[in-house]
Subunit: 215 residues, 2 copies
């Protein structure tokens, strides 16, 4: 496996943002397992993100005909442009229904003031690319397990799908700015907050025949 | 029942937008039945909508702990502000998962060019309030029946829940601009495209004891 061009390790309850070139692959890994990583993407021209073209849960669910995201899923923008394709997924379950955790969410649901959050972490790191907090819609919540009851609609949040070392590969289908946050919500991460690893690969990190990373 | 302050009848495949005062109730009715109505809302100051505070499917699903919306559901903004409360619902099933139909959607899924769409109709009527098409996130799709399989995630789009005359009442919890579209997608509306009626009431249109409109 070729080494990644960039490799970051996000501390628990932190985030990052980076530019992706078309054809590059973003790998998001949970080294410790049972950890959710929120992802948001915007189209990009040169060094600036376009706040008007954003990763859309509603388009992706409609075109993919599924509320779940997995290997082969194309992630669409609000303008129906393919932004990313899931080219590998060793965990198998992810959420695209609920908004990123936010300071307001912790206050409203748990009475916790000033709690770190995915929304704040994404906003902080996307700001230098021209994205404001109100530009951030529903995130793709990698490794988060949200299961709806089809009769009542009630959702159940389960233990994250990631085992130690599980990863998802997202290939950029156009130039992008991508934000990633190591989810800050204790309740969503089975009580323990772990780091998240983020890598940028110029080519597919696991070409056919490369079994070293296969599970 | 007190007559509404305003009453509109949207022709099939059309839309409208209007200002709502806090405390007013928006009634959306399907006079012919089996017709979906897409709704979007933005916070408002004087005559101008705030594109930065928008009705959020992800917040609403998270706080309501359900993918479905019905009587009693509070509809939240991206900033966790209650925008609207569902105070009456004679149909019982609505969708908040899939994006509004768009010209791109008809092209991509059905090879139909230049098809009318909810997104275009909402954008046209929200434009005078300062909203651009890219500001419109996943809409609340009244009377649309989208059922996910909890194991596979696959969604099934059923016949709309509205029988002739069914309605939903939405009470404004703050000053708003609201857009409504009579859904343009043949496949979503069981093959027949109907009108949608929109009313603005200064008080709750069905106070306790008023049984005339009850089903």
């Amino acid at each position: 496996m070729t080494p990644p061009r960039h490799a970051l390790r996000l501390a628990p309850q932190s985030g990052c943002a980076l530019a992706l070139e078309r054809g590059q692959t973003l790998r998001v890994r949970s080294p410790t397992g049972e950890q959710v990583a929120d992802v948001m993407a915007f189209a990009r021209t040169a060094g600036t993100a376009d706040p008007d073209e954003w990763l859309s849960s509603g388009r992706t669910i409609d075109y993919g005909n599924s509320i779940y995201v997995g290997s082969g899923t194309i992630l669409y923008s609000n303008r129906s442009t393919p932004l990313l394709t899931v080219t590998a997924d060793t965990a198998g379950r992810h959420d695209f229904l609920v908004a990123p955790c936010s300071e307001e969410m912790f206050e409203r649901l748990y009475g916790m003031a000033g709690h770190p959050s995915c929304l704040a972490n994404l906003a902080t790191h996307l700001a230098p690319f021209g994205i404001r907090v109100d530009d951030i819609p529903t995130t793709l919540n990698l490794f988060m397990v949200v299961t709806p009851d089809p009769l009542s609609g009630v959702i159940t949040i389960g233990v994250p799908s990631s085992r130690p070392g599980d990863h998802v590969d997202l290939r950029a289908e156009t130039d992008l700015v991508v934000g990633v946050a190591a989810c800050s919500a204790e309740v969503t991460n089975n009580g323990t907050l772990g780091p998240v690893e983020v890598e940028v690969h110029d080519a597919a990190p696991n070409p056919p025949g490369d079994e070293a990373q296969a599970r």
